[in-house]
């Protein structure tokens, strides 16, 4: 008989072999498992990380990285503090708040050089400068009141002359005319409106003095002391991923949609978002020093804006040593 006889033992061996396969590969690379806690649902917002994972750049660096999705009820800080994530994606204001509450975080890299907060309005009734906010209705989460206050102080605008309407995070109140403008991210609600054929104007708050590093990489002081090699490996993968992103944002959007078929992502939306993200993430500084870099000047500007938000911080909140190793 030429055909192989299927015995139970033979089946078991085959099954065991199949089950061992991933472990065998892992053993060969001796990859260390670490987690990166994202700040929101999977989307092209984190496409650099997907590129790093897809191309095996973390595997090359000896890491097996799990990307943990965020969500409306999934704050970044607890998993990073408790150690279930090595690095989290936060923002300088949230990190400063957590540090004030006793968390020992450092900002080890800055993905968004320019803060993505924007004031979005419809073209027929545009808001193009902070002064034009006076007498308008703005839809936003009340939690962001300090952000608007800071913008007003920075631009000498009467905060009390703006009417705040607490809304859900959706463009609907603006589209239906309930409010004149929205406080939102440059890269989400305005993109959604554009895809729906609604012409919207945005005023980037970063262009009016609001300097708060966003999409920052945070790690604990303990990790910076004890797990340096892993941090350097993780950040070097991020660096390669985001460099690839910069060269072809459409490909990054396509990869995102392909990697997360159950996330309900729309390719056109992702492509547009990927494109609009570029000026926020890449600047002359990053062209010169590399992705994620931050200058002492920008740190000083952040300290000034954070003070307006009620957060007293020192330059110690930032730690450039991991980036220096990555780029060096």
């Amino acid at each position: 008989m030429s055909c192989p006889i299927l015995t139970r033992r033979g089946m078991l061996t085959a099954a065991a072999g199949a089950a061992m396969l991933p472990f065998a590969r892992q053993a060969a690379h001796a990859a260390t498992p670490v987690s990166l806690q994202l700040s929101w649902l999977h989307s092209v917002q984190f496409a650099g990380s997907y590129l790093a994972q897809k191309n095996g750049w973390w595997q090359d660096a000896g890491l097996d990285v799990s990307l943990l999705q965020g969500g409306p009820n999934a704050p970044v800080e607890p998993p990073v503090v408790s150690g279930s994530a090595l690095v989290g994606i936060s923002a300088a204001d949230y990190t400063a708040a957590a540090v004030a509450q006793g968390a020992k975080f450092k900002i080890i890299g800055v993905a968004m050089q320019k803060n993505p907060f924007a004031i979005a309005s419809l073209s027929g009734n545009p808001v193009t400068s902070p002064a034009e906010l006076v007498g308008r209705k703005i839809g936003m989460a009340l939690a962001n009141t300090p952000v608007l206050q800071a913008l007003c102080i920075l631009n000498d605008v009467d905060f009390d002359a703006i009417e705040i309407v607490p809304t859900q995070y959706s463009a609907q109140p603006l589209v239906s005319g309930e409010v004149d403008c929205l406080l939102c991210w440059e890269t989400d609600l305005p993109v959604a409106m554009a895809i729906n054929g609604i012409e919207a104007r945005t005023m980037l708050m970063a262009d009016h003095g609001y300097a708060v590093h966003s999409q920052t990489y945070i790690a604990t002081e303990d990790s910076l002391r004890d797990r340096r090699a892993e941090l350097v490996a993780l950040m070097s993968g991020e660096l390669r991923g985001w460099q690839a992103y910069q060269t072809d944002t459409d490909a990054a959007a396509e990869l995102t949609v392909q990697m997360f078929p159950d996330a309900g992502l729309d390719l056109a939306t992702q492509k547009l978002q990927a494109e609009r993200q570029v000026p926020l993430m890449f600047s002359d500084l990053t062209a010169q020093r590399g992705f994620g870099w931050f200058s002492d000047d920008s740190v000083q500007a952040n300290i000034k804006t954070l003070a307006l938000l009620g957060r007293e911080v020192t330059p110690d909140l930032w730690d450039r040593s991991i980036l220096e190793e990555v780029h060096g």
Binding site: H42, A98, N196
Partner: protein, 518 residues
């Protein structure tokens, strides 16, 4: 009670609903608020794979949570019947756990359970166990005293009492609990996905809301509501198959033993001690970092000895007063709406094909989808807020009261039929008194539900009060404030619950004395 099944009314109800929905969508065209039936059907037809996978995921988690939550409720109720001394402790702890807001528990569950489906299943179970436990405890007491006397005369104890008498008496109430649980489990699983799940209907809801993809958003809502309606209907069908005994006349002598002052104080003291011990022990679990897991002494310190303690207390007090304004009207409106609709549905049964789908939908669709509509019609002021709260709490009352009215004793109804008494007279003299135990069970379980509803509405629409404070505290890592707010919410729920229970004792002492004894 033979009823001829007819297709006419349900079909008519369904058609009317879809026509109303289509008309609403047509009127609001262009506002990005409502997608009509055709758009929704088109989206579903174009995305069967995405929708199917998301539905499979959420439905699986909801089912597991439904089973786990209801089994826990049944086990707790059984324990409370066998050891009546534990009753107050069990129902007190159950209340406290039910009061824990999602915004506090979600991230902790995620840290403890890691990536995967754990938090979604736990949150679905947490959403259902309480609304099963409370009706069940009522049902287990809804027995004629003579039946229990019979068990005792054979020298049998509480176990036999539970198996042979109480369990059967409780069945109608159990089915009420299960019907209330069906949409709650689905919603619980969806909201659980907000803690960082990779796939499911909740994830898609957030995505589509931000993308202004109204047909997709409504397709998700319609499917969530349809699934909940099917499960609700199926449980109702099982109930009709199982419950063919006519409800007995429950005669029970009032045996109210005066409770001594000391014992009155002992029960709450024991509960408070148990809560504090469990809180403290829970926060000492591995992985619970003191940065976000605050123990009772941390919260006490933040409120008393910390440098900003006075400011913290002020903030909490302001938020509390802002919340209280909406709480009582919303609670009373929800309760009245639920009981009133139940009475209307018994008087005019054909209405139910129109009302029940809307009721189930309101309970199973996340508020993020429906809130913009209610805000549009009623505004963001007091009326809108109170209506949203009422919309979120009326469903358990409606279902409990419907089941309660079916407990009208058959023999007494026969007497009324002999005298050709009309529906209204039957309602006033038999059905409403028979409904009272179920109504009060609903009134008690609606207390924490109303408080949770207010906090959600505040978080999403008004941006004031305790709900907004909790969301803000979590976002800026002020976990002392978050846990202090949780403690306040829980304390208020417990106090209001005790108040409702005191009213209940006075009324049921007359109408259903079997409920008043332990």
């Amino acid at each position: 009670m033979m009823r001829v099944a007819s297709v006419g009314p349900p079909l008519l109800g369904g058609v009317l609903l879809i026509m109303g929905w289509g008309a609403l969508a047509a009127v609001l065209r262009g506002g990005h608020l409502v997608a009509g039936p055709a758009e929704v059907a088109g989206w579903i037809a174009a995305n069967p794979g995405l929708l199917g996978r998301a539905l499979g995921k959420t439905l699986t988690n909801a089912t597991l949570g439904f089973l786990a939550g209801n089994l826990v409720a049944i086990a707790l109720a059984g324990v409370a019947m066998i050891w009546p001394r534990l009753l107050n402790l069990i129902s007190g702890l159950a209340l406290v756990v039910f009061c824990l807001p999602l915004i506090a528990t979600g991230p902790i569950l995620r840290v403890l359970m890691g990536p995967g489906d754990g938090p979604q299943i736990v949150l679905a179970a947490l959403a259902v166990y309480y609304t099963t436990l409370i009706p069940l405890l009522t049902g287990l007491r809804a027995t004629p005293a003579v039946w229990l006397d019979l068990v005792h005369s054979y020298g049998r104890g509480r176990w036999s009492e539970l198996i042979h008498v109480r369990a059967r008496a409780a069945l109608p109430y159990l089915f009420a609990g299960l019907q209330i649980a069906a949409p709650a489990a689905f919603l619980g699983a969806m909201v659980g996905e907000f803690t960082g799940a990779e796939q499911g209907m909740g994830v898609l809801t957030i995505r589509f809301m931000r993308a202004l993809d109204v047909p997709a958003l409504w397709a998700i809502a319609v499917v969530a509501a349809a699934v909940s309606m099917v499960v609700y209907g199926a449980i109702g069908a099982v109930a009709r198959m199982v419950l063919h005994d006519r409800p007995p006349v429950i005669l029970s002598p009032p045996r109210g033993k005066p409770v001594s002052g000391l014992s009155r104080l002992f029960q709450p003291a024991l509960l408070i001690a148990a809560v504090l011990v469990l809180w403290w022990a829970g926060m000492a679990l591995p992985g619970m970092n003191p940065f976000f897991a605050k123990s009772p002494q941390d919260v006490l310190a933040a409120l008393t000895t910390a440098p900003q303690a006075a400011a913290t207390r002020d903030t909490l007090w302001t938020a509390l007063t802002e919340t209280a304004v909406f709480l009582l009207p919303g609670y009373v409106a929800g309760l009245m709406l639920g009981a009133g609709l139940a009475i209307a549905l018994v008087l005019v049964p054909n209405l139910s094909t129109l009302v029940m789908p809307i009721a189930v939908a309101l309970r199973s669709v996340p508020i993020v989808t429906t809130a913009p509509l209610i805000v549009l019609f009623l505004g963001r002021g007091a009326l809108g807020t109170i209506s949203l709260v009422a919309a979120m709490v009326f469903f358990p009352t409606l279902v409990a009261c419907l089941h309660g009215m079916r407990q009208a004793p058959g023999q007494i109804l026969d007497v009324f039929h002999i005298y050709a008494a009309g529906r209204l007279r039957q309602m006033a003299h038999i059905r409403i008194p028979a409904m009272l135990p179920a109504f009060f069970a609903a009134a008690r379980m609606s207390v924490p539900a109303a408080i949770l509803a207010v906090t959600v509405v505040e978080w999403l629409t008004t941006g004031r009060g305790l709900g907004s404070l909790m969301a803000l505290s979590a976002s800026v890592s002020d976990y002392n404030m978050l846990w202090a707010a949780v403690a306040v919410v829980t304390t208020i729920s417990a106090l209001c619950y005790a108040g409702v229970a005191a009213i209940e004792r006075r009324i049921l002492f007359v109408y259903a004395p079997e409920q008043v004894r332990p």
